[in-house]
């Protein structure tokens, strides 16, 4: 422990004696965790990549494309919802804007499909600046309401502005690969979505481990406190909202190129945003692969329920039930629940806490008779004893 009189602006580096208790046990456990994680990721990636070859028919393959689209969108959502805790129900609208933007740039401006996709994503990102500027001023329930308003406003605009958008008749998007047969078309887009998903996951991971990410998580925990520690919270939120919007727009635009037909009712639907929230919450918003896992579960569930219950609204009931179950039994999501389950199956950790050299010394010092340290307290009190003693020595 640095002595009291040491003139430190920045405190001294920890000496070996007071090094924190990252004992060999902890390190080994971490390495084991890392191995499990890497294996899980490799298996997941292999399963995703192998799926098109295993899919028995084009319908199943197209369902796979839909699920991957959901995975891209919910991962994109999680840049805002996961890091900052701002729950947006309006991300469906950002995907819709990406879709319509791409479609219109192809049909009206004659851009090549994938150039149109990139330009549309940039335009949506630019548009996200004023949207975020307005929406991110409010927190909690108010932010949710504002995000819903965004969807409803855009729905009205795109339905009414029929001369540009085709209105309720819909908008046909020319296919980027007109020569491909339907199964091949699905296969190509499946891999395009997988690539986009990988890109979004990579960006999420980079932010997650960065100082920027730590600032965003501080905002999620306590925004005023983060600001009081020097984080420019509004700028942080705005930047991550724009990044989220760009990825969401890419997902929506790619969907437009794949599906080939846009209708405002589906593109600007609150249901889309709700599904994204459900997926992310279900998988676990604090986890890189949470939204992806959630999208797999909910996306597959949705397709299954639709096939089972046909045109009825029962698939919504089933989805609602799923959400209720997750919130009740796995409030942090599936992945953290699995994590803690694995943790319980691990060979028993020490139930008696390991004592570090520093703590032992503190205890000795306390026992040596600083009266302040009499109380049966944690290390705080005993180190206080030590401090008192060192002050005496100086005096």
């Amino acid at each position: 422990m640095p002595s009291a009189s040491e003139p430190t602006t920045a405190p001294a580096t920890t000496s070996p004696a007071t090094a924190p208790p990252t004992g060999a046990g902890t390190t080994r456990r971490r390495t084991a965790d890392r191995v499990v994680q890497v294996v899980a990721v490799v298996l997941l990636a292999a399963a995703v990549l192998a799926f098109p070859s295993l899919a028995p028919n084009p319908y199943i393959l197209s369902a796979g494309v839909v699920v991957l689209n959901y995975a891209v969108l919910s991962t994109s959502w999680s840049f805002v919802g996961g890091f900052t805790g701002y729950i947006s129900l309006g991300h469906g609208a950002l995907a819709g804007l990406g879709g319509y933007g791409t479609a219109l740039l192809v049909t009206k401006a004659g851009l090549p499909s994938f150039v149109a996709l990139a330009v549309a994503a940039l335009l949506v990102a630019a548009l996200a600046v004023p949207i975020g500027f307005a929406a991110l001023r409010v927190r909690g329930a108010s932010f949710v309401i504002v995000s819903i308003a965004l969807v409803l406003i855009l729905l009205l605009v795109f339905q009414s502005w029929a001369s540009l958008t085709g209105g309720s008749r819909g908008l046909v998007v020319p296919r980027p690969f007109p020569d491909l047969l339907r199964p091949e078309h699905h296969r190509v887009f499946y891999y395009l979505f997988a690539g986009l998903l990988a890109l979004a996951l990579l960006a999420w991971w980079m932010i997650d481990r960065s100082r920027f990410g730590l600032g965003l998580k501080a905002i999620r925990e306590d925004e005023d406190k983060a600001e009081a520690l020097g984080t420019p919270t509004f700028a942080y939120k705005l930047v991550v909202f724009v990044v989220s919007a760009a990825f969401t727009a890419l997902g929506g635009g790619l969907y437009a190129l794949w599906f080939g037909d846009l209708d405002p009712v589906f593109q600007f639907s609150i249901l889309t945003g709700s599904y994204l929230v459900l997926m992310a919450l279900l998988g676990g918003v604090r986890n890189l692969f949470g939204p992806l896992v959630g999208a797999l579960v909910v996306g597959i569930g949705l397709e299954y329920f639709k096939v089972e219950f046909g045109d009825t609204q029962l698939h919504l009931v089933a989805t609602g039930l799923l959400l209720a179950l997750v919130v009740l039994f796995m409030p942090d999501g599936v992945l953290p629940a699995i994590g803690s389950l694995l943790g319980r199956m691990r060979p028993a950790q020490n139930s008696i806490r390991e004592v570090t050299a520093a703590e032992l010394r503190d205890q000795r010092v306390a026992a040596a008779g600083a009266p302040a340290a009499r109380e049966p307290v944690d290390a705080v009190a005993s180190t206080a004893g030590e401090r008192a003693q060192s002050t005496e020595e100086r005096a």
Partner: protein, 249 residues
């Protein structure tokens, strides 16, 4: 402590703030000197915390001016005020509950530029500095513990570690002794003295008179949103207006 500079560190001029009909600050003009441990005392509702909130940009004053080291910081965003060198703790201590103690402290790192932002949050230099503060405050053994699992006293120390990590020249402490056991109280007092000796200015809002009298060089007494007395502890202890405000005599 012999040669305290006479430069005002933090000063306010006619600071006013009303919440509805309640006047929390009523033209408060105060000056805190650089390099001193200043205390701000007064009965409940006398405007001490509102004063802190106005000074640190958490709320915007209705009128008046706040200057820090000669710069006008009235109404600036809180993060800018922190970056100018003015850090604070909160009355009901605030930490990030679902972050480890280490991350709580690291959250105060100030990244510069895009590369600074995208650098890993756990780079060596930052980690060493953060662990150093945890060690200094005696909670280094809790580095990997989530803040919500720490005791009240430990959380108070953690909050202080975070504030110190942002390397403020002036530290505002809002009731550091609230809900704290005598041993820890002692420790906080010693720490304030040490940090002051290293060149940090303090402004402390506190009800615990033992702490106030033992650590501060200069005491400002608030009543009804404005200072009614100020001076060294020896003078304040016997000031009739202070006794009146506190005891209603």
């Amino acid at each position: 402590m012999s040669e305290r500079s006479e430069v005002p560190s933090l000063a306010t001029d006619g600071l006013t703030k009303a919440f509805g009909g309640v006047v929390a600050l009523d033209g408060a003009t105060v000056e805190f000197r650089h390099g001193q441990v200043n205390a701000l005392i007064g009965p409940n509702g006398s405007g001490k915390t509102t004063f802190f909130n106005c000074v640190t940009g958490m709320i915007r004053p209705d009128g008046g001016q706040v200057t820090y080291q000669g710069r006008d910081i009235t109404g600036a965003a809180p993060h800018r005020i922190v970056r100018a060198g003015l850090g604070r703790t909160f009355q009901l201590c605030r930490v990030f509950p679902r972050m480890t103690a280490l991350d709580n402290v690291l959250a105060a790192v100030r990244p510069v530029g895009l590369t600074g932002l995208l650098r890993g949050a756990h780079v060596r230099a930052d980690l060493d500095r953060a662990r150093g503060w945890l060690t200094r405050l005696g909670i280094e053994h809790l580095a990997d513990v989530e803040a919500r699992n720490m005791s009240w006293g430990q959380q108070k120390l953690l909050e202080l570690a975070g504030v110190l990590m942002s390397d403020p020249e002036t530290v505002l402490l809002d009731e550091p002794a609230g809900g704290v056991n005598p041993a820890l109280l002692d420790r906080i007092g010693t720490l304030v003295r040490e940090l002051n000796a290293e060149g940090r200015t303090f402004v402390i809002v506190e009800h615990n008179m033992d702490l106030v009298m033992s650590v501060s060089d200069h005491i400002v007494v608030f009543d009804r949103g404005r200072p009614i007395a100020e001076g060294p502890p020896s003078l304040i202890r016997s000031d009739e207006r202070v006794l009146g405000a506190y005891l209603g005599v």
